[in-house]
Amino acid sequence: MSPGFQGRPRSSAPDLPPGQYLTEDFPVLSAGPTPRVALDTWEFVLTSETGAEHRWSWDELMRLPQDTPTVDLHCVTRWSKLGTTWQGVSLDTLFDGVDTDARYALAHSYGGYTTNLPLDDLRGGRAWVVHTYDGGPLPAEHGGPARLLVPHLYLWKSAKWVRGIRLLVDDRPGFWETAGYHDYGDPWREQRYQGD
């Protein structure tokens, strides 16, 4: 126990995972300079474990059916932001017609960032490639022009500046996972670091 520590007056926040606190603004955390990606060269590539590629240009992505999820965000650095609104394409739409037996996925980004997830966590209406935040184009520092959004996992899994997803038979850790962060990252189980 920490003598004299009372903490901030706490309101009941049932949507807040353990160890998280609420924030109203939108902090930025990334490991390097913000990549700037032109829309006319942007593309998103799904690569199956056999090497089969499925590509979308920006215009092609925009022509796909669009979702408008409202979700809570949980960052491993302990801030949470509730009720954020986005627009983008469900991964279910992108995986439609992709033939795979893979169980794992490695998302990769412009700028070289990678993060791993079980493939099942990208399907079933739980993940999107989003390009619009709070009614406007997604700012570059938050991952624009497009980022992955997987709100049921810590935010480092929602790869900013996403460029593609590679499907893998065996799990392969990404950037932060190699540096000691958890392979799965469930905020409700506080899976912050390897071994949690």
Binding site: M1, S2, P3, G4, F5, Q6, G7, R8, R10, G19, Y21, T23, D25, P27, V28, L29, S30, A31, G32, P33, T34, P35, T77, R78, W79, G111, G112, N116, E141, D171, R172, P173, F175, W176, E177, T178, A179, G180, D183, Y193, Q194, G195, D196
Partner: protein, 253 residues
Amino acid sequence: MTAPTAGGRVVAPLTWRVARLVERRVETATAQTLVLDVPGWPGHLPGQHVDLRLTAADGYQAARSYSLAGPAQGERIEVTVQRVTDGEVSPYLIDTYAEGDPVEVRGPVGGWFVWQTDGTEPVLLVAGGSGVVPLMAMIRARRAAGSRTPFRLIYSVRTADDVIYADELRRRARDDQGLDVAYVYTRRAPEGWRGEPHRIGLADVNSHGWPPALEPLCYVCGPTGFVETAADLLVGLGHPTRRVRTERFGPTG
């Protein structure tokens, strides 16, 4: 118990250790350094951070990440805490936390924003405000290792009174061979400083950094807006993005 494996890595779980405050140093009106004794501390690299966790009488816990300010000295570590207005953890650590009191510590964490003391490439450190903390860990580790690796620090602060580690930086800039320190003042410049107060710009990075041809490693740490600006300037000058490592901090308590 078997250590969990992930992708071929064998990793030990990070455990919470009970640390105690052994010394407190006032750095500025709003920043203090806490020296903690952490039994079992495994050591760390400059640039890594720890999580500190507080527990209230009713069981409520709050944890925050703090950069380590220097290399480990045995089981002693240092963190420098900047008071966050309306914060939950930093006011306690600055105002209430007393010598001998326990605090839980978990770490070290982070393996990207680190400097290896056997590195020989020139290093550019760009700090905004309390972003100097992990960069000071690198400067201190360089000294402790007897490294001659060329280091330059560009440190942006509001006024001279806001410089954390002011005396030590003055001393090291004089005594540590191959360490240059330059300041950028954003609100009020001290007498004798050439130029007007301004936010960091191309001329600062160009004058006090390294040319890209020398292939330096660049570390930028500070508030989000500062890091965005400084990292963009470095990339604009021709530094490859992979050699520009950043650590941004947003609001924390």
